[in-house]
């Protein structure tokens, strides 16, 4: 009986896992209850952060209470005037609109009010001294007139308290406590202001403007200590009063402009907070999605062992890879449901609390953005679920799994919190760091500034990591090591095997690639920049290539006792084959670049291009720099090094690890990996490089399989690169001979025709040179070496 996996069977296997997870109460708690609780709570915190952090801002207004003894005073009107001086057309008090000074008015009429316009404070008349209202939070500050005695005391003691506004004013000290007739005298400091309003003649006829003069005096303001809202109200009050004082001085001295003017705009502050919050939201979403995956991952792996169902699973003829895939899809599904629940709860909370509008304006938190964030969460979940399964598959019990997961979660939190740093730029390097890349990408999406080539790196990295984690998980899941009665430990897994093998396995390749990928990315961008000298830089980058691209697979093969000779196809072939091979290689070396070039142009025409003009300039500059170096060095670094390293990795290690697939699949997969590596590790993320490089990968892999040797490929690769390098080095000469390929243009038809013929002839030569020869035929199962 075979255990062939039909789609229907696979779906039924997945459904069982999903049923098991979704019927469990504990899953439901994380899935439904958590988002219902977390986001409303979070919105409270966010509100708090916004209020303390951003000062006066639209949508949040303060309440100023006016004490009972001021109930018939003109202070509220004066405050309105003061606010009018500060502000903006939309919020200025209506009946005094025209009294704002000319400069201000000019500005307010021409300028659009900024998004963060000052909110107009609410002024409430209180029935008492207002202390209760202040304590209860009904008002944010209470203003009352200072009793004459305290006023005198303070004045004489020369106290200067921030609670009092304008106390330095000499007029006030003189007038304070004076009879009403004195207040109304021509020395009243408010007189110029009142005169100006009268001159404007905008107020109602029966409004006794002189009553405004009564407002002169010292006031006492009470506010709640260490309360952001209250402090904001105090600030606003101070600003309004200062505005009146300045206006009064201006009226007294026509043409007077205060020597120091301050015009603070809270925009920068707001942007920082918005950025921070735009990171916090995806971070919270990511963390919640993680939380959603944790329980099912443990339950479906370590849980199986704890329930005693694992052994029955393992003894079934269904492979552990299939079992794990079913579990993986269930974990991803539950995790995504959690993500959806969280996203919905978050969107509703942001919308209902008004924070969303505050953060992203009106249009930004659209369905499209939410959809993109969801897609990113899908990607993240696919990676994280695989990682979780890899960890929990190893555990023998729930407890053990939890013990493993706590450090993992902490580990995941660190880059997550790091990504909260507002100044952190989402660059190529960070795009390779798991979790950080998703959080930062989501932040870019949320603030509407996503760069899609960095995004592509993040996406591919996540996919690569997910695949690797999955491979590791399926190796660990139900492995001999995890069963009772054996001596399983991590050490066993990494132990050097005793048995010698001829070819690497798929999981060894996946692990090697996913270790090499970020390492190479970092090393090739960091190490060469340590030197200023170009030739040193080139030497370093060649060393990095040899050390990582070639060195890592060579080391892995040695450590895992996989024979180098077979893995890297080191056999040279028969001498009689080489004349044909060599002619094939020369023909292909001279013609393959034309096809690659045409594919490149086609890719650009299809609109997949990302290379920008600056890049061409950089390339031109780089070319100039290269021309100052010895020719052999350039050829060594850019032709021979990649030929040896990349052939060793892709046509050696990678292609050998794909021996269980048919030749077509093996060639295709290795070529795609080859193409991806070139897109991602070059200093410019050039997507249009993918197709021509993949094309070259197909050709080289075919040659490697056909000849059974790495060397024709190395020769072709070196020839191909050398040819292109020479063309750019001797550009001038070529131009003189009128044979120059222009950047971004099709080749002349005659060239193409000749190129196609040479290409066909080259392939034919290789084919003829290998006809009838013995070679390894894919697919095959490796037989152990005795």
């Amino acid at each position: 009986m075979s255990a062939r996996v039909t789609p229907a069977r696979m779906i039924r296997l997945c459904l069982k896992e999903l049923r098991e997870s979704l019927r469990d109460r504990r899953t439901i708690v994380t899935l439904v209850l958590m988002p219902l609780l977390v986001y409303p709570l979070l919105s409270l915190v966010l509100n708090r952060v916004l209020l303390t952090g951003t000062g006066a801002k639209s949508g949040t207004f303060v309440t100023i209470g006016v004490g009972q003894e001021l109930s018939d005073s003109m202070l509220p009107v004066l405050l309105e005037i003061g606010f009018g001086q500060l502000g903006y057309r939309q919020t200025a008090p209506l009946f005094l609109e025209e009294i704002v000074d000319d400069r201000r008015r000019g500005r307010s009429q021409t300028d659009e009010p900024p998004a963060s316009a000052l909110p107009r404070p609410q002024i409430i008349l209180l029935p008492d001294n207002g202390r209760t209202a202040l304590r209860e939070g009904t008002v944010d500050v209470v203003i009352s007139r200072q009793s004459p005695e305290t006023e005198m005391d303070r004045a004489s003691a020369g106290q200067n308290n921030s609670d009092r506004v304008g106390s330095e004013n000499q007029h006030e000290d003189r007038i304070a406590g004076a009879p009403e007739s004195r207040r109304r005298s021509r020395f009243n400091p408010l007189r110029p202001l009142v005169d100006e309003i009268r001159a404007q003649n905008q107020l109602a006829e029966d409004f006794d403007l002189d009553r405004l003069l009564d407002a002169v005096g010292t006031y006492e303001v009470r506010y709640r200590d260490r309360d952001a809202q209250s402090e904001r109200a105090l600030q606003l009050l101070e600003r309004m009063m200062t505005a009146i004082n300045i206006q009064a001085v201006r009226g007294a001295l026509p043409g007077y402009v205060p020597p120091l003017l301050l015009d603070a705009t809270p925009v920068a502050m707001q942007a920082n907070y918005a950025e921070m919050l735009a990171t916090m939201i995806p971070l919270v979403l990511v963390l919640m999605t993680m939380a959603g995956a944790v329980y099912p991952a443990i339950d479906l792996t370590a849980g199986e062992r704890e329930r005693g169902t694992m052994e029955a699973l393992i003894v079934s003829p269904t492979s552990t890879a299939v079992l794990l895939l079913a579990k993986y899809s269930a974990v991803v599904t539950v995790s995504l449901l959690t993500a959806l629940a969280n996203l919905a709860a978050m969107s509703v909370t942001l919308w209902a609390s008004g924070i969303g509008k505050l953060l992203f304006g009106d249009g930004l938190l659209s369905l499209g953005v939410i959809g993109t964030v969801l897609a990113l969460l899908v990607l993240f979940t696919m990676f994280f679920a695989a990682l979780l399964l890899a960890v929990t598959s190893f555990a023998k019990s729930f407890k053990e799994a939890q013990a493993y997961l706590i450090p993992l979660m902490l580990l995941a939190l660190t880059p997550g919190v790091m990504s909260l740093m507002p100044g952190l730029k989402f660059t190529g390097l960070l795009a390779t760091v798991p979790l950080v890349n998703i959080v930062l990408l989501a932040r870019q999406v949320l603030v509407g500034a996503a760069e899609w080539n960095t995004a592509l790196v993040a996406i591919i990295c996540n996919a690569v990591y997910a695949l690797t984690a999955l491979v590791v998980a399926s190796r660990l899941f139900g492995s001999d090591a995890s069963m009772q009665g054996s001596q399983g430990s991590w050490g066993d897994l990494l132990m050097r095997p005793l048995q010698v093998k001829r070819y690497p396995s798929l999981d060894q390749m996946a692990l090697t690639m996913s270790a090499m990928f970020p390492l190479y990315f970092i090393a090739s961008s960091v190490l060469p920049s340590m030197s200023r000298d170009l030739s040193t830089k080139l030497w370093i980058s060649a060393a990095v290539s040899f050390g990582l691209i070639l060195g890592l697979p060579v080391w892995v093969a040695w450590y895992r006792r996989i024979q180098w000779f077979t893995t890297f196809r080191l056999q040279a072939g028969r001498l009689s084959q080489w004349p044909l091979w060599l002619s094939g290689v020369v023909l292909l070396g001279g013609s393959a670049w034309m096809l690659a070039h045409e594919i490149f142009i086609a890719a650009q025409m299809l609109g997949v291009g990302t290379i920008e003009i600056e890049h061409f300039e950089q390339v031109a500059m780089f070319k100039d720099q290269l021309s100052s170096l010895p020719w052999w060095l350039v050829m060594f670094v850019f032709a021979l090094t990649p030929a040896l390293c990349e052939e060793g990795l892709f046509r050696g290690f990678v292609l050998s690890s794909l021996h269980r697939y048919s030749a077509v699949w093996a060639i295709g997969l290795s070529a795609i990996l080859f193409g991806l590596m070139h897109v991602l590790t070059s200093n410019v993320l050039a997507v249009e490089r993918f197709l021509p490089t993949t094309f070259m990968g197909l050709l080289l892999a075919w040659i490697a399989l056909r000849t059974g040797s790495i060397w024709p490929g190395v020769a072709l690769h070196a020839l191909h690169n050398g040819f292109l390098l020479s063309a750019s080095r001797f550009e001038e000469q070529l131009r003189q001979w009128h044979i120059l390929v222009e950047e971004g243009k099709h080749l002349p038809p005659l060239w193409l025709a000749l190129g196609a013929v040479a290409f066909a002839a080259g392939c034919a030569a290789i084919w003829l040179g290998t006809r009838g020869a013995e070679r390894v035929r894919y697919p095959f199962e490796e037989s152990p070496i005795e």
């Binding site: 009986m1 075979s2 255990a3 062939r4 229907a8 069977r9 039924r12 296997l13 069982k16 049923r19 098991e20 019927r23 469990d24 329930r307 005693g308 169902t309 052994e311 029955a312 699973l313 393992i314 003894v315 079934s316 003829p317 269904t318 492979s319 001999d480 069963m483 009772q484 009665g485 054996s486 001596q487």
Partner: protein, 261 residues
């Protein structure tokens, strides 16, 4: 149907080596119940694990229907049904869902699986709780579900690892009836147990395992003759008291008692 040939297995724990099996050989033909008896730690479970292909023997081999078992032998596993003391059920699945899931694991076509389910429901009287979630079942009911699970793919070989541990008289009786039923169906049954009374009731032949060695193998009459004891319990006690009898050493050295080969 089941052949174990000179199985040797050592476990290494932090530098110390434990000999779990020291050359165990026996054979079980179709339609026979073979009791693998021994005290705790004798090597019964290790033997079963090697036969299932979960463990690789250090030397020797195990075969099912002429095919060697090993970690990659999916075809062999499809021919084995396995019921063990430690087996559990899926608490959140119903009995029906769980049994159908195992049919899927063994790639039993859907319609055939339903037919088998109906038959097993009758045989093991599962109808009353077929659509209940497994977490609501009693121990005896769970055991019946586990027995049914082992038969969903109708394997010619059945391995039972202490199937009555923790069951009351009624539960044990169900297991005995199940074993008789398997015998009638012509299956080769390997029963590992330390309960000698039940082994006497159901097994055709026995193998006495002690510290990794198969001390005796044969029918009850043969073993009685060899050990001069009437009951398995006495044989067991004397075996543990006296250590390795000379004839057992001999049989182990010559490849063990395999009367069927």
């Amino acid at each position: 149907m089941i052949v174990a040939s000179n199985l040797v297995k050592n476990f290494r724990w932090s530098g110390r080596t434990t000999q779990a099996l020291r050359g165990v050989s026996f054979a079980v033909p179709a339609g026979e119940v073979f009791g693998l008896l021994g005290p705790n730690g004798a090597g019964k479970t290790t033997t079963l694990r090697i036969i299932m292909g979960l463990l690789r023997p250090d030397s020797g081999y195990a075969e099912i229907g002429g095919v060697r078992t090993g970690p990659n032998s999916a075809a062999v596993r499809a021919n084995i049904g396995m019921v063990s003391t430690n087996d559990g059920v899926y608490p959140w699945l119903t009995v029906r869902e769980m049994l159908m899931y195992f049919a899927d694991l063994y790639a039993v076509p859907f319609d055939l699986a339903r037919e088998r389910l109906d038959r097993l429901v009758q045989q093991l009287q599962l109808a009353a709780f077929l659509d209940q979630r497994c977490c609501t079942l009693s121990t005896g009911q769970k055991q019946r579900v586990i027995l049914a699970r082992g038969l969903m793919h109708d394997p010619p070989v059945m391995l039972l690892d202490e199937p009555t541990r923790g069951l009351d008289v009624v539960g044990s009786q169900t297991v005995f009836e199940f074993i008789f039923h398997l015998k009638q169906l012509g299956k080769a049954v390997l029963l590992s147990t330390h309960r000698l009374d039940e082994a006497e009731r159901v097994c055709d032949r026995f193998g006495l395992l002690h510290r990794g060695d198969l001390m005796y193998a044969g029918s009850l009459a043969e073993i009685r003759e060899a050990t001069q004891h009437r009951h398995l319990t006495d044989m067991f006690l004397s075996m543990m008291r006296d250590g390795l009898p000379p004839n057992a050493q001999q049989s182990a050295a010559t490849g063990g008692p395999c009367p069927l080969e």
